[in-house]
């Protein structure tokens, strides 16, 4: 039965009429499901097949509005159907349903064509938000603890819920615009409750796709609210190096070596960054 449930529906959202070996699905269903006076075995199995796909597609529809806006609704449904056909859920919670979407887009980028790179950036960004929303946290290190250790010896971990992303598109601004438009549409259609089949709400105004632009993002939470913060490239290098277990001194040196910016008081700038990150509770003991 599970094999039948996991098989994708037809474009008309019906159960496929042939089983994997080419035999008739109605015979396959009749072998283990009883018909009744109103429904054939095929139709009874189809209820579960449809329920499965409506549920999982709906979940990804809600979790990845940015990807949906990037590739378009019809292509999004095809993409997520192929993804779920290849990677069925291996977690007890639907929260993890999209955890291999980035991997899938790297393996089969043509599903997002012609916006493969943008789609990949968006999926990484949207998954980082899921992690930031309810991912684990560790006790934050206090500024005093940081100050007591010389920079040459100090190693800092970053909160597990924090994701550092180097992206080729300004997906943050784009997603804000998408979400704003979707919430406006939902507010306008409050009486039209959500159905179980994938929806086809038309957005009223086209949002321009982001242009190519290198950005560095920290996706995190503060007071249990989700935030994304743009980082200067040097700050991104420092934080990434800290994640890899490099000392604070070496991380800063690496960032300054890589930087081509001049006329900056780097000592003051770095202190300001560390004060900021510490106040946000990003630092914890390294693993």
């Amino acid at each position: 039965m599970a094999g039948a449930l996991f098989r994708p529906l037809t474009p008309e959202w019906r159960m496929q009429e042939r089983w994997t070996d080419g035999s008739r699905m109605d015979k396959f269903a009749a072998a283990f499901i009883k018909p009744n006076d109103r429904l054939s075995s095929f139709e009874r199995l189809e209820i579960y097949n449809r329920q499965y796909w409506f549920r999982v597609l709906d979940c990804l529809w809600d979790d990845f509005p940015g990807l949906r806006a990037v590739v378009g609704k019809r292509k999004f449904t095809k993409l997520t159907t192929r993804y779920l056909a290849r990677y069925q859920s291996t977690s007890y919670t639907l929260r993890d349903l999209g955890n291999r979407l980035e991997q899938f887009l790297r393996e089969e980028p043509h599903w997002a064509a012609p916006r493969e790179d943008l789609a990949l950036d968006m999926v990484r960004f949207e998954w980082a938000q899921i992690v930031a929303f309810d991912g684990p946290s560790k006790p934050a290190i206090s500024p005093d603890e940081i100050l007591d250790t010389p920079a040459a010896q100090l190693r800092l971990g970053l909160q597990p819920y924090l994701s550092l992303l180097e992206l080729n598109y300004a997906v943050d601004d784009f997603l804000i615009a998408v979400k704003k438009q979707e919430s406006d549409v939902l507010r306008g259609e409050a009486s039209n409750a959500v159905g179980s089949a994938p929806r086809a709400t038309r957005l009223r105004k086209r949002i321009h796709l982001p242009k190519r632009e290198k950005i560095y993002l920290a996706v995190h939470r503060h007071d249990n609210m989700l935030y994304y913060k743009r980082l200067p490239p040097e700050a991104f290098v420092i934080l990434t190096a800290l994640c890899l277990g490099v000392t604070v001194e070496d991380a800063c040196a690496k960032a300054l070596t890589a930087s081509n910016r001049t006329n900056i008081d780097w000592a003051a700038q770095i202190k300001e960054w560390f004060d900021d990150w510490s106040a946000l509770g990003w630092f914890c003991r390294p693993l």
Partner: protein
């Protein structure tokens, strides 16, 4: 049964499902609710807003855990990560009992995220009961299993659904979360008498009751939990109360969720209805 081993000897009244659209209202207005039922899996996370909300709710309300992913009927062994997280949550909420469904939903580590019906055979009953016992021993909390609504029946079945429910719960020595709406939905889909079902289960094992709304289609009824409770379900609820007595009852509303006040009003209606039925039961007994 007002208090029994299967609901931790508690005496809870009418509860409401804790749902995301209502968080803000509940935390701000602090409405009078006897207890909240939470979906365990929604709070088996590592941190963030869900746990903050849960802790705030726990400060003010009684909470009972209801799961959707134990899959007692799956051939798979339990996912130990799942069980470990569930146990941590049980300790956090101090839920007096825990419920999940009499169904399967995973195979070879792949999850359908659905509550799938089982073939009602003695072998399946033994397997399911063993898993319920193992879960209860590990989690150290009474377990009630909920009858699911279904749209398919198997040729392999050797007994009726109510016989299967009785067999499993007797073998596992566990409780029943009696979902009256699910019985009604399945009775229409499978052409059986829902009252025969109600009359023939071990009433002393019922630790909790669910009532909910459903949707009628041309050829079948779907358990959608997106409407107020309908008349036939109220009648069955009254009959269930006659059989099992004053039992903790939850009003389910999981889709097309209206304002908290609307759900709350439906719960208050259930409370009044329950009081009337129990009073009538007492008069009859006297």
């Amino acid at each position: 049964m007002p208090a029994n081993p299967f609901n931790g000897f508690t005496d809870y009244g009418i509860g409401i499902g804790l749902r995301v659209p209502h968080y803000r209202h509940i935390l701000a207005k602090k409405p009078v609710v006897d207890w909240f039922e939470i979906i365990s899996e929604n709070f088996m996370v590592d941190g963030g807003r869900p746990m903050e909300v849960l802790d705030s709710i726990l400060e003010q309300y009684r909470v009972v855990q209801h799961g959707v992913a134990m899959y007692f009927g799956s051939a798979d062994k339990f996912d130990q990560t799942h069980l470990g997280r569930l146990k941590r949550l049980v300790k956090r909420t101090e839920t007096p009992w825990l419920s999940d469904h009499l169904c399967w939903g995973s195979v070879d580590g792949r999850y359908t995220h659905d509550l799938l019906p089982m073939p009602y055979t003695f072998a399946v009953a033994r397997h399911t009961a063993e898993k319920i016992r193992a879960a209860r021993d590990y989690l150290e909390v009474p377990i009630c299993v909920e009858n699911v609504s279904s749209y398919a029946e198997f040729h392999a079945s050797e007994m009726t659904e109510w016989e299967f429910l009785s067999e499993v719960t007797e073998l596992a020595d566990c409780g029943i979360l009696l979902d009256v709406n699910n019985i009604y939905v399945s009775s229409k889909n499978h052409n059986f008498d829902p009252y025969e079902y109600l009359n023939n289960i071990p009433h002393h094992r019922v630790g909790q009751i669910h009532i909910a709304g459903h949707s009628k289609f041309e050829k079948y009824i779907l358990d959608t939990h997106d409407h107020p409770v309908l008349d036939p379900v109220w009648k069955m609820y009254a009959h269930a109360l006659k059989l099992v007595g004053d039992t903790a009852t939850l009003l389910e509303w999981d889709d097309r969720i209206p304002s908290f006040d609307e759900v709350h009003n439906e719960a208050l209606k259930a409370n009044k209805f329950r009081d009337q039925q129990l009073a009538a039961r007492s008069e009859t007994a006297a």
